[in-house]
């Protein structure tokens, strides 16, 4: 039977990465002084599963590496070794290393082994060193790739048929472990010609017989082309609870060997003890004569050793096939159950409506309306439940921060405590995947620029340990994520000075604190005195804001000098649903994301200025905003070309404001986002489509795409703005 193991790879990768996350957070929580055995167990189990799976699915590099880690963990778990902080660091590095290996395997790339080998030798040094060298249970033959034992068994099979004498006397309890001697004999019969003679000498009288106890012993003659180890393998599971003698005889002889009949009856008597005393019996059993010479471990390792070699080649081949990324989601059974319940209700409503329609007359109208109302409620609930399937707790994203903070605070010599709040707050899986990087950036920023060095903190009258809090909660249809630090706060004077220097604001501009803080999200803005490794890698806060805006979200900062800063990210709970504003342009209806709309105004020509180069700008209080005519960039016919008869919707996208000219504002509604690319392709200025109540398709506008289409460039806009300043 040949089974394509590669079909399980994706699941293995996913669960391994999850396991690594578990390991990592457990390691970070580990108090080496006061070590909690359940935490160690958790770490061990994760490593153990990865090792088992990687071995099974032919990823021997991962299996070998994990084996070393597992060995050390096992010693710690067994209490043979104390866990030291250095071990924790080493384990953490290994987690990174395995994660990298798994990701390479998943992507079908070659696995980079230099880090792994380096770590492996460090682990080996720990294992070999000091007090427990002998206890390390890593004999080479048990490692998954050891080739030695394979040749052993192979070499033996050339000899031709041999005759073996087997004496087998199991302990009385053999049946209670589910072991059935007849099955073993069946196996022997498969090897060759077996003659089994039962010895009932120990059978007690019928009155005292215990039906659950085995009183029998056997003499077997086996003529087969097998080695002793192969016969031992048949008895492998009972070898410690039985008397077993296997001897090769020169010629076929079925006569009973009198010597073999001299079995000690003592163990039979012992076996009559009650099942609760099993432990006692088995502890004593090794005392009984067991004439088995080679270590059982060798027999065990034989099948294990053959396997990776056989599978390595197909695994490499399969990796390429697997490159297409299949993302899956794990859903709690409660969510599925609630879906099933809803569908049940829907079916009831449907049959009720069906019943009504059978002989409908006007007197049943109220009932029909009631039914329809129920149907719409069912549908709404069903939609919510379906959406909930894609929702995961934000702890999946939060979980990467303890490690980040641990590592960074070490590099920077800062003392930082990380507090996580609202970890169970749920959001859409896709949103979660995309919010990770912007959050990392913000946390790095808080660590680097927010939290002061311990001595500075003490000078400022604060505790030497800084506090970073990640908080998440739901608010309306949004999830709010906050990154709060108790550091020094934004230096508003410096920000303003820099902004003036860079021409982002005029020298005479009066800005509120809020506006000053917001400047850090402007492109090309970085206040770090020196570019550090931690933040300021050329990726500015403007990118953070843009990434968040791409998710239809927003980010803002609030800061108090000396007390710290709070970054607040607001995101829609899901990318599948959007709060939309329907707008009309000519005969077309488009949808604007509600979150991007700042205001909509009816204008008069006094507010509109024509700038050389053809771009019109709208004077909006102290600002100048470029005007984009939707009909122009989309090549459609509007109701009116007259700006005064149109409506200007001021929207923000890509860090700039523009005024979009449309005919009218229609309804606001939640729309389900459909892909345009699935059957067509990407369209500039359009982020997707949706289906309106009347069944027609409406396109969802993408503000930054529109800006690009209109050819409004930011540097131009800046010029416009400065020009405007002069004019004003």
């Amino acid at each position: 039977m040949s089974i394509d193991l590669s079909q399980f790879h994706q699941v293995f990768f996913e669960e391994s990465l999850e396991g690594l996350d578990v390991m990592e957070s457990a390691l970070l929580n580990l108090d080496t002084e006061n070590c909690d055995s359940e935490t160690i167990n958790e770490i061990f189990r994760a490593a153990h599963s990865i090792k088992g799976g990687s071995g099974t699915f032919g990823f021997s590099t991962v299996a070998e590496f994990t084996h070393v880690i597992e060995t050390l963990l096992d010693q710690i778990r067994a209490g043979d070794r104390r866990i030291e902080p250095a071990h924790v660091e080493l384990f953490l590095k290994s987690v990174d290393c395995i994660r990298q290996m798994i990701k390479s395997l998943e992507a079908g790339d070659a696995v980079e082994m230099s880090d792994a080998n380096d770590l492996k030798s460090k682990f080996q040094a720990i294992l070999d060193g000091k007090e427990l060298a002998a206890a390390a249970p890593v004999p080479a033959s048990t490692a998954p790739t050891a080739p030695a034992s394979v040749s052993d068994t192979d070499a033996g099979s050339s000899g031709g048929a041999k005759t073996w004498h087997i004496y087998f006397k199991p302990d009385g309890d053999v049946l209670k472990t589910g072991n059935e001697p007849s099955r073993m004999f069946r196996e022997l019969e498969d090897m060759g010609v077996a003659t089994v003679v039962v010895d009932t000498a120990d059978l007690p009288g019928i009155g005292v017989i215990d039906p659950e106890t085995c009183y029998l012993k056997w003499n077997i003659t086996l003529v087969a082309d097998v080695e002793k180890a192969q016969i031992e393998e048949v008895f492998e599971w009972v070898i410690d609870e039985a008397e077993l003698r296997i001897e090769e005889v020169a010629q076929v002889a079925v006569t009973e060997n009198p010597e073999q009949n001299g079995a000690k009856p003592s163990s039979v008597k012992q076996s009559k003890v009650e099942p609760s005393d099993i432990v006692q019996t088995t502890v004593q059993s090794p005392v009984a004569e067991v004439s088995v010479s080679p270590a059982p471990s060798q027999a065990i390792s034989a099948p294990a050793a053959k396997e990776p070699a056989a599978q390595a080649a197909p695994a490499a081949k399969k990796a390429e096939k697997n490159k297409t990324e299949v993302s899956s989601i794990r859903v709690g059974i409660d969510k599925v159950d609630s879906l099933i319940n809803m569908v049940g209700e829907l079916v009831i409503t449907q049959s009720m409506l069906g019943e009504l329609s059978r002989d409908f007359d006007i007197s049943k109208l109220p009932k029909l309306l009631e039914g329809l109302e129920q149907l719409s409620q069912n549908t709404r609930e069903l939609q919510e439940s379906v959406m909930r399937i894609r929702m995961l707790p934000i702890s999946f994203t939060f979980s990467r921060f303890p490690r980040l903070v641990h590592d960074l605070s070490k590099t920077m010599g800062k003392k930082i405590e990380l507090k996580l709040l609202g970890e169970q707050t749920e959001l859409d899986k896709t949103v979660m995947e995309k919010i990770g990087d912007p959050m990392v950036h913000l946390v790095r920023n808080s660590l680097d620029h927010g939290i002061e060095m311990p001595e500075d903190r003490i000078k400022a009258g604060k505790s030497d340990t800084g506090l970073i809090t990640l908080n998440a909660y739901h608010q309306g249809g949004n999830i709010v994520i906050q990154i709060i630090d108790d550091g020094k706060g934004l230096d508003k004077e410096k920000i303003l000075r820099k902004a003036v220097e860079k021409g982002l604001v005029g020298e005479s501009d009066k800005l509120s604190d809020e506006q000053i803080c917001d400047l850090i999200f402007k492109p090309g803005f970085s206040t770090a005195d020196q570019v550090t490794d931690i933040s300021g890698r050329g990726v500015g806060m403007d990118v953070v804001r843009r990434n968040i805006q791409e998710l239809n979200g927003s980010v803002e900062v609030e800061s108090f000098t000396g007390k710290g800063s709070t970054f607040t990210i607001r995101l829609p709970l899901t990318l599948a649903i959007l709060d939309g504003q329907l707008v009309s342009a000519g005969e077309h209806t488009y949808i604007l994301p509600l979150i991007s709309i700042i205001e909509s105004i009816q204008t008069n020509m006094d507010m509109v200025h024509r700038v050389a180069g053809g771009c019109d700008v709208l004077r909006l209080r102290s600002e100048y905003v470029p005007i984009i005519r939707l009909y122009d960039i989309f090549n459609i016919k509007p109701e009116s070309y007259n700006l005064e008869e149109s409506l200007l919707v001021v929207v923000e996208g890509d860090n700039m404001k523009v005024a979009l000219v449309v005919d009218d504002l229609l309804a606001q509604q939640q729309v389900v986002i459909k892909s345009l690319e699935e059957n067509y392709k990407r369209v500039e200025g359009v982020s997707g489509a949706t289906i309106l109540g009347d069944g027609t398709v409406a396109l969802i506008l993408d503000i930054s795409g529109l800006i690009k289409l209109a050819g409004v460039r930011k540097d131009e806009y800046k010029k416009v703005k400065q020009g405007g300043d002069e004019a004003a």
Binding site: F8, E15, F57, K176, E187, P296, S301, P303
Partner: protein, 119 residues
Amino acid sequence: MTKILAVDDSASMRQMVSFTLKGAGYEVVEAADGKLALEQAKKQQFDLVLSDVNMPVMDGITLVKELRALSNYKFTPILMLTTESAGDKKMEGKQAGATGWLVKPFNPDQLLATIKKVL
């Protein structure tokens, strides 16, 4: 049809075992830990239990003990799927009443060959 209970906290291992056994014509029920396995075992009679050793909530050793305490699982073959290279886990399993073991990593053929030993 022969019913097998496959217990492992690793979904990939569970899927592999289950797929292999189903392909060989067995009926398979999966459980992610010892506790869930025990619940399944009480609901229906299995002809064979394959269980991982290291699992959260209830480990494989405890599962074997619990199963053996049930009158209808006294003689049912229970195989441990173990990666322990050291023998002590195997001993522990045996003492708890396990029939035998299969050492990970194993491939589908080895799995089928092993379960044929007890069915």
